[in-house]
Symmetry: C2
Subunit: 337 residues, 2 copies
């Protein structure tokens, strides 16, 4: 039995493309006492992984050239020498981009679908969904009646932010990169307003039009012009939850973008802008899991996935996601259960 | 008796200079029942006033062309038809840049020196001192042992920030615009480290050198390159209290500065950046007043003032302060008590 893996071939300075990845095939590893052999069912591609391709110190170590990339994976135990796991168990963990991997069990969490796709543990019921909850509710201190703005609003995180805000009784407007996505926000996800940031005449004026009283909570996934426009349109005592700046991730160091103008607006309006990493909020996970499952059961939460097929599709799925070609959460289906 | 006043002659687009002010002389006003006539003793020139010279909506209305500027004033009651005030009372209020003014008493607060100069009510015991306390302690959530960075550290606000941090048992480093100011920070105010931002090779590297473990609390008065450098040098869970951005106040709209690069640093380090206006923290005033007087009595708080003489000197004192020519708090002495 062979084990196909995706390795980092080189570090991008600017946009990632196929040349930064390579594939190899190894024998499926054998396991020792205390270990389990895992078959990858689904792997997750997420924006933060772009940062791990750089050789810079961060909250999470960089990927190494010649080594497999890694990230959130849902896998099935196919062989076990660890009494805590049985063959057939489904687990979630941070594992390699490979068809098979070995684990001591450390960091693995048993997961079940509970009527929902197992892949939801990489999205709605996983890190992206929890990120939405933490950023909106804990960092953004969102409350009923707030005016909420979300960028990348149809994405893995943004689509959950918008639905939480809607369920909490907020006015919510979002931006996305295609008319199809904008329609999805309004028609399926219940956004009060939405716009295509690529085609509006002025992002600034469009946001101002959506928020005549200003933005109480801005959930920022994108950076660039939209981030700047949000800064100019915040309400008194507004909060900006700074989750991501995907617009800036693929710009080379030489072309490093200028930052948002108008930071003085934050002073006069007493605005709080807070960057956050979801793993710094460990207490939120059980709260989100319970709340999300309750909303799912009531039909008050939906989740869209783009599924790429096979491990060899992981690099192009990742690059496509960075370019906004996905609809909702981008995952890669590696094997059948 | 004549009343000399300073009026706004025109709105600057970029640097303020003498041409934006004019002086007139009116008869000293007469008062009606319920009013008091006030003789200005000291008036305050503060960075925020530059914003009021623009015709833009903000937390405080703009100055009007042809009308007197106004701001914090310490004055003496010279005539009273208001039972709450007696001739000879000294008061603090937001009053015109004029030798005399009339008030109904609304917004006036009786002040006494208590062994300290009356002008301290425009600085250490007034808005700038309270701003330092609110920004460092309430917004910045400073605690013992924190590593604190202050810009414009020898100024009316920064010099108090540094001393509070020192008194709280923090490591504190600051920046200022002359070697003389830097010496004052180290020798008189007890800063652990300080540098001249105009002469160091790299603000970024200098700050990194001062803070090998990163900055826990940055108190930002300046903006520009120093703000950007602070963003790159924050510690995990750091806080930036955004008080002012004086470097940006005198740049014309066309030349509007780019914002700080590297905002993604705030994400990975879970940093909070909060703009604030001191008037939004009304409960802090009595706490600060008590704490400050206690430190003054113990010799643990000093305050430097630059005093310009006569109301006609107010415009040049204001412009000089914006250019950093002041040492400590810039005030204008208008009349003897």
């Amino acid at each position: 039995m062979q084990n196909k893996r995706i390795l980092l071939a080189g570090r991008p300075d600017g946009w990632v493309d196929d040349t930064h990845f390579t594939e190899d095939t190894q024998p499926v590893p054998t396991i020792s006492d205390g270990e389990v052999l895992l078959k990858t069912l689904y792997l997750s591609v997420d924006p933060y992984m772009r940062g791990r391709m750089n050789d810079t110190k961060s909250y999470i170590p960089p990927f190494q050239i010649g080594q497999p990339l890694s990230g959130g994976v849902v896998a099935q135990v196919v062989e076990s020498k660890n009494p805590k796991f049985e063959v057939g168990d489904t687990v979630m963990g941070l594992l390699d981009w490979a068809q098979y991997s070995v684990s001591t069990g450390e960091g693995l969490r048993k997961v079940h679908g509970g009527g929902y796709p197992l892949s939801y543990h990489l999205g709605l019921l996983g890190m992206p969904g929890l990120t939405a909850y933490v950023g909106l509710v804990e960092v953004g201190r969102c409350k009923e009646g707030d005016n909420v703005f979300v960028t990348a609003a149809s994405g893995a995180v943004g689509s959950v932010v918008g639905q939480i805000a809607r369920n909490m009784g907020c006015y919510v407007a979002g931006s996305a990169g295609s008319d199809e996505k904008v329609a999805h926000l309004k028609d399926t996800l219940g956004f009060n307003d939405a716009f295509n940031y690529k085609t509006v005449d002025s992002v600034h004026k469009t946001i101002a039009g959506c928020f005549p009283k200003g933005i109480d909570v801005a959930f920022e996934n994108v950076g660039g012009a939209q981030f700047e426009a949000a800064i100019w349109n915040m309400a008194l005592f507004g909060r900006i939850a700074l989750c991501g700046m995907i617009a800036d991730y693929n710009i080379s160091r030489e072309d490093m973008p200028v930052g948002p103008r108008g930071m003085t607006n934050l002073i006069g309006r007493n605005v709080t802008l807070q960057g956050f990493i979801v793993s710094n909020y460990p207490d939120a996970a059980p709260k989100w899991d319970a709340q999300c499952r309750a909303w799912l059961a009531e039909g008050k939460m939906t989740y869209q996935e783009s599924v790429a097929d096979g491990i060899s599709a992981a690099p192009s799925a990742f690059v496509g996601m960075l370019k906004g070609q996905n609809h909702g959460k981008q995952i890669v289906k590696v094997s059948d259960e």
